[in-house]
Symmetry: C2
Subunit: 234 residues, 2 copies
């Protein structure tokens, strides 16, 4: 089977329901699939893994797809190997990466996706599709044993990409400055995914998608915009 | 000698010159000191360590204080032990912590400050005065071997603390949400330092200072505000 991956900047557009803007896309993405495994580990409290899984279950009900939380399996490696599809939700990327490394599941998940099991990620769940988590916007509330992630695509993702606010009086760096500073120490390309945009992998083809252009950052080059539907080739 | 520490949220207020708002305070803070060591390691490019040190040198000239960059010493441990005072500037906290651990200087710096050598930090330089760097806002552009920092104060600092923007249509978490999520996994108190505020340590007394209240976050408690001049006791 060929690779089938969707990495979205966000789960929810402002004022909309959870995953609503992605539903038309997910209908074809998860076609002929009756059950997926949901990975809730990014969620740092607020709601439990069970509650987070329930929220996802309700949305996938409209697609006639059953949802099981990865945290409910006694043998999660076997569950990953047998899965028909995956969805990793957002939360805190440090926590998600720390958990997947601690449970020794990062490599198994990567292998299952690389042989063709469809993988949907949003936010932190998309960040782990990149080579490493060094372009997350999250707070390092836990210490992961490693920043390496699945490398389903040959670049990193900056989810929730934000353009500079010309009216800001605050001294925090802009997102663009942070990514530029990343490129002082790293040569990995970074795709800044604005909310409403996503990356689609079908076999060896990687394209941008959604309602906004993506911003591409490469070491030693000026950043540039790519319209939805563009092929990403580095 | 007693501990003498100033940990500021930011180096620069909007529209002002570098360190300008702190100068009156620094005049008494660094009284009778003729030379300090500047630690430029947080700076992730843009300007070199030499250029960053030169920028600081110009400001300290008005206080009649000479500045030497820590990166210029062949024996930085000896330099730290003999120093009359320290200033660690801002930049990227991951980079600063990674560098200080890699060069094996975190512990020496801590010891020198604990026996009374005055320490000024701004932004990333203040974050390393806390117990660990888990409340930085920075992007993890490098992987530190450890998140532990100097623990000059018995809490963590969130520099550049920002109140929630009621008009935001963006899905990033607010600063308050991030710190609340930190407290799911950690019981370390966090002081949210708004720009223009700082923490002052004189011997065993730790107080808030500056032009704005600080916001205090403790595990299992509602956040609360502390006016400048309040004693921090956890």
């Amino acid at each position: 089977m060929m690779k089938n991956i969707l990495l979205a900047s966000t789960s929810t557009l402002f004022g909309e329901e959870y995953l609503a803007y992605l539903l038309p896309e997910l209908k074809s993405f998860f076609k002929d699939i009756s059950e997926i495994i949901f990975i809730p580990f990014a969620r740092p409290g607020g709601i439990s893994h069970d509650e987070y899984t329930e929220k996802v279950t309700e949305v996938f009900h409209s697609l006639n797809i059953k949802v099981s939380g990865l945290h409910t399996f006694t043998d999660p490696v076997e569950a990953i190997q047998k899965a028909e599809g995956f969805f990793t939700g957002g939360g805190n990327t440090f926590l998600l990466v720390q958990q997947l490394h601690q449970l020794n599941l990062m490599e198994d998940l990567k292998m299952a996706v690389e042989v063709g099991t469809p993988y949907l990620g949003t936010s932190a769940g998309s960040n782990i599709g990149g080579l490493n988590m060094k372009n997350t916007n999250d707070m390092p509330i836990v210490y992961p044993s490693d920043f390496t992630t699945m490398g389903l695509v040959p670049f990193n993702i900056n989810a929730h990409y934000l353009d500079p606010d010309p009216n800001s009086t605050h001294n925090g760096e802009t997102r663009e400055t942070r990514i530029k500073e990343f490129h002082v120490f790293n040569d990995t390309p970074v795709v800044g995914l604005r909310e409403g945009s996503w990356i689609r992998v079908q076999g060896e083809q990687v394209t941008t998608a959604g309602n906004k252009p993506s911003r591409i950052f490469r070491q030693g080059m000026a950043p540039y915009e790519l319209e939805p539907g563009s092929v990403l080739r580095f």
